[in-house]
Symmetry: C2
Subunit: 356 residues, 2 copies
Amino acid sequence: MGIKKHILVIPGDGIGPEVTTWGKAVLENIAEEYGHEFTFDGALMGHAAIEVTGSPLPDDTLAKAKASDAILFGAIGHIKYDNDPSAKVRPEQGLLKIRKELGLYANLRPIMLFDELLDASSLKPEILKGTDILFFRELTGDVYFGEKKRSEDGNTGSDLMIYHRYEVERIAVKAYEAAMLRSKRLCSVDKANVLETSRLWREVVQEVAKRYPEVETEHMFIDNAAMQLVKNPKKFDVVLTANLFGDILTDEASQIAGSMGMLASASIGDGTGFFEPIHGSAHDIAGQNKANPLASILSVALMLEISFGLTEEAKRITDAIDKTLKAGYRTGDIADAHTDPAKILGTKQMGQKVLQ
Amino acid sequence: MGIKKHILVIPGDGIGPEVTTWGKAVLENIAEEYGHEFTFDGALMGHAAIEVTGSPLPDDTLAKAKASDAILFGAIGHIKYDNDPSAKVRPEQGLLKIRKELGLYANLRPIMLFDELLDASSLKPEILKGTDILFFRELTGDVYFGEKKRSEDGNTGSDLMIYHRYEVERIAVKAYEAAMLRSKRLCSVDKANVLETSRLWREVVQEVAKRYPEVETEHMFIDNAAMQLVKNPKKFDVVLTANLFGDILTDEASQIAGSMGMLASASIGDGTGFFEPIHGSAHDIAGQNKANPLASILSVALMLEISFGLTEEAKRITDAIDKTLKAGYRTGDIADAHTDPAKILGTKQMGQKVLQ
Ligand SMILES: CC(C)[C@H](C(=O)O)[C@@H](O)C(=O)O
Ligand SMILES: CC(C)[C@H](C(=O)O)[C@@H](O)C(=O)O
């Protein structure tokens, strides 16, 4: 009755490797406990791949990715490139390319709140309590992938923000389908008062909305949404948005969950699913046993649920995290004034606690 | 010793007219008290102008704007256009055009915190306390003004995100000059790991930074900035950013000040300065005597200080607001559980209190 799956692990850069170790350990644990057979392979991406092969996404990594049933990814990026705007080869290109190549057009980012972490947020507990948001961020279009240009004299730079109807439609359908299974409320975020791309976006969402008359649709401008998310996060349920706006809003929303170290994401589309924490490579704390491994472990829960349909196993993981938090254990990013200093754990110790 | 100035008042749409009335009343009051001579003219813009002339920015309004010493503006927008993505003439075009025509390339948005309003925010008071941010948002470039296209078949929409070196340089200089007068910390926000426009932005800011070696410069990605602003707003002082990112971040930051109803902005550049609340037209409460007039009144304080150099008069206004808040008076948007219900005022009553 156990299932057989082949999983590619791409640790990536910065804190990626140390957190991914624990995501993988949890997968092994689940396999043993439930009698599944998970086989693993590893591959390079980002700065880690540039160092070895010169390319942020080596062909070998892409081939392995396509051949796997699901991918567990860590983080990408390196400060070296951030401060050098003229670098031609950059770690992030690897992530963008794999999203495009695998057709991962829908990025799901659930903002869930562990009751125990209500106090870790900068928002007031009464504002947070009851918040449960599911973001659908479009992931293979927008200004991320439109043509980029620099004039010969170097004095003009541009990026084309562009969307095609089918791109908006397919992610809208996914978001509406999810809304039907939740509280039937969907908020689509755009900047239709200024952008043509957003006017197309709104047109298509209005059309798709007609197919789901039970879902209550709201359209909101991105500036207003960025504000409402802080003011009253409970008002949101499913949020549908373009690539750039989704990048900004979901990072902002991470403060609702207490820390970015608590948020996982699933990128899905035409084939293999791709699972990653939403936090970045955080080079300032890399290799210091300080990073929070829970987002990687939660990414694994998303993988089990979304790619493999293993709902029970996924719940087993979130329950284990819940229990660990209830017992008072925290990593530094989610500790607050009430945390027992003896219960502030490193990456490794937190990973082990959850495994137990 | 009094000065003579000619001020154009553009009330605009929604709650614009009712809040602007109080901004203007405060100007008249200051003129009388300090012996200045302020003359006024009025003009239409936005939906209000479309209704009468068919154009969101009639020539007459533009001519009057160019001939004035400063402009006090209300708000723009109408729900009618928001839900009709195919409308060709839109209120917001008026605002965008006047920004471009008057060369208002620098939008200053101070996020200041009245101690009395610490509790009105969704953020914890201890997170907020001491926050004092000055945003410099570029206002006449970016994806706002790049070429917009819709394909013949209607299925593809695009907007060109574009910056020229001189556009980045002139706003960067303004922001660094301001940083020199403040705590000498500047954070430039971009998305240089993905966008060519941002890489040009970062390059130019790095160059300008060299001319201000005393200023400590930080570069931050927009997604991270949207997160840090909620997590730890105190870490920011001067924030320099592009048009679109600035639109999003400043609205988000409005929650720091308790409400958007408390925030004013100054748009400056080559000529006449333009002063407006950052809140929108809020049609849902328009004409109901519910809007908060303080942002319009604070816009007037910015006008006196920035366009006319009347620092003392500006301080007189913020002091009057401070006193009104200390006495416990609130509009609905900044009231909280501790507010005496008898002290929750309408637009008009709040305006009168400040005048007193
Ligand atoms: C690393 C970067 C290119 C990426 C993005 O902007 O998409 C990241 O911020 C994310 O959200 O996954
Ligand atoms: C009304 C709209 C065009 C405008 C903008 O996006 O610039 C507004 O949101 C602002 O921030 O002044």
